[in-house]
Amino acid sequence: MKQYKRFLMMWDQTFSQILLGLVLLITVILLGLASPFFMTWDNWRNILDQSALQVIIAVGMTFVICTGGIDLSVGSITALSGVCMAVAMHAGVSVEMAVFLGIIAGAIVGMGNGLLISRLNLNPFIVTLGTMAVVRGVALIITKGIPIYGFPREFTWLGNGHIGPLNPPMLMAVFIALLGALVLNQTKLGNYTLALGGNEEALRRSGVAHKLYKLIIYTICGITAAMGGMVVTARLNTAEPLAGSMFELDAIAAVVLGGTDMKGGRGSITGTVMACLLLGVLRNGLTILSIPSYYQQLAIGIIILVAIIISELRLKNAPGHGNTIYLGG
């Protein structure tokens, strides 16, 4: 019996990634058989391009969810940072400076979320639900609801330029994912991110500035969302105040699908990246097979539900989640 449970736990740690890898592989093979167009580089470039944006935002979200929190405002931050960059560039600010300002805007919103959540001990869901609306409102007020378009080429290059066979968003996504994995697995910040989700009180009693770390994590999520905003704006050459709606749900879905525990304490950037790819491949595949987009929405929703069900069943056997099984004693 003990052996069986121990096996279940070993299974648990790599479960999501193995399962995700298999599903991804099977999906790719099936789609490749179903459509000759699927396996072309042009199509894959398209998939990677779409997934890149999602990876950038989902990495920040992974950190937040690892603390047991959630950030619903990332979609709105995407819009706000794009709008800030656009306004700055139209005011004659240099591209670098405009990008910097846009990302600072995202960081400030993230910091605001973090302050409210850590200092006032408010519920992350409610706080970020509020900032989601506030930030969207600000983006609409700044633009008066009208999209801003037409930017210098150096800026649009960030969204649709070419670096060999790849483009800047893909490289950004790779960089952010690698950096995120390094931070989550190898640094104090990463350790404390997981400890915050596992047992915040234990972290506090160990003398760690737990509120500061929480603040940093929400700020990181704001920054990655702002980088997402930069990519969207540059790609479309338009800053759209309504851009990025539902991005938060896509990001949360990818994080959960990637095996990060919604209750915190456990998470993986690798899983998040794989989930982003899987969602990207599925969307693309359904489009190629000319399945109407309503069904796409349905299919992706069902996949996310299945992922959550699997993850919950798994967690019943994981330590620190109510139904704890103590081995060996």
């Binding site: 736990m9 640094t187 047992n199 160990s206 003398g207 330590p319 620190g320 081995l327």
Partner: protein, 262 residues
């Protein structure tokens, strides 16, 4: 037992209320290096509140903590640890989903290259600490939540020892343990005393208290009702005091009277 004259920690006129419940009323206490001080009392007597204030997990309303020649109105957990007060909490304060080494080093992870956590060093050090304490844990990469009660306790103790304080506080150290495991913990407490640390133990187990402690502090309704030398006390007296009898009543009932009691 070698008691130094200067106390390792002094608590002076400490009070703490939760709403209109007075958890601590004007508590004063001295703890010396090289002794085991047992704090006993019924549920709700204020024992845990007292040690949580010492550990910095709670802040007192009134009173000071005096360490050396410095006086503090309150401590934060980080400050308490850096002043040499380590605590093994009743709930152990472990992060269940993290491995053994991460828990032992929680808050003071060794780093290399400025910011990368040195996991190999953590594993090595953790193994060394656990071995020194004779705590058997099969694998250091096991999640703490999967360990037995005694092993979990071992991890919490190892963390407190690693923090390397002068004062170490145990809140119910053997409550969740079997006979063998509690014998180990008791051995550990005695060893820590030998090393010259001040050890504070909260316990409901009077046999154990009499077995290991040098002094017994009895608390009742948020007050210290007596501090007695273990050698000069009888279990019946202590039980009487815990139940709320006055010092005189308790000692008369037991047939002796000691001047040591306050």
């Amino acid at each position: 037992m070698s008691q130094s004259i200067e106390p390792a920690i002094k608590i002076v006129h400490m009070s703490k209320s939760f709403g209109n419940i007075e958890a601590l009323r004007d508590v004063s206490l001295e703890i010396y290096s090289g002794e085991i001080l047992a704090i006993v009392g019924d549920n709700g007597a204020g024992k845990s509140t007292l040690i949580k204030i010492l550990a910095g997990a709670l802040t007192s309303d009134e009173g000071q903590i005096i360490i050396g020649d410095k006086s503090y109105n309150f401590l934060s957990p980080g400050r308490a640890i850096s002043l040499g007060i380590s605590t093994v909490y009743q709930d152990l304060a472990l992060v269940d989903c993290r491995d053994v080494a991460s828990n032992i080093f929680l808050g003071r992870e060794p780093v290399y290259a400025g910011f990368l956590v040195d996991r190999r060093k953590m594993q090595k050090e953790a193994a060394r600490i656990l071995e020194g304490l004779q705590i058997n844990i099969p694998s250091l990469s096991t999640q703490v939540g999967l360990l037995s009660g005694g092993q979990r306790q071992g991890v919490a103790v190892a963390r407190a020892v690693y923090q390397g304080g002068k004062v170490i506080i145990f809140d119910e150290p053997t409550a969740a343990m079997g006979l063998q495991e509690s014998a180990k913990v008791i051995k550990l407490l005695l060893k820590l005393r030998e090393e010259g640390m001040a050890v504070i133990v909260i316990s409901h187990n009077l046999n154990q208290v009499f077995e290991i402690s040098d002094r017994i502090c009895v608390m009742c309704h948020g007050q210290v009702v007596a501090i007695c030398k273990t050698k000069e006390s009888l279990p019946n007296q202590i039980v009487g005091l815990i139940m709320g009898a006055t010092v005189k009543e308790a000692y008369n009932a037991a047939g002796v009277y000691s001047d040591e009691a306050i």
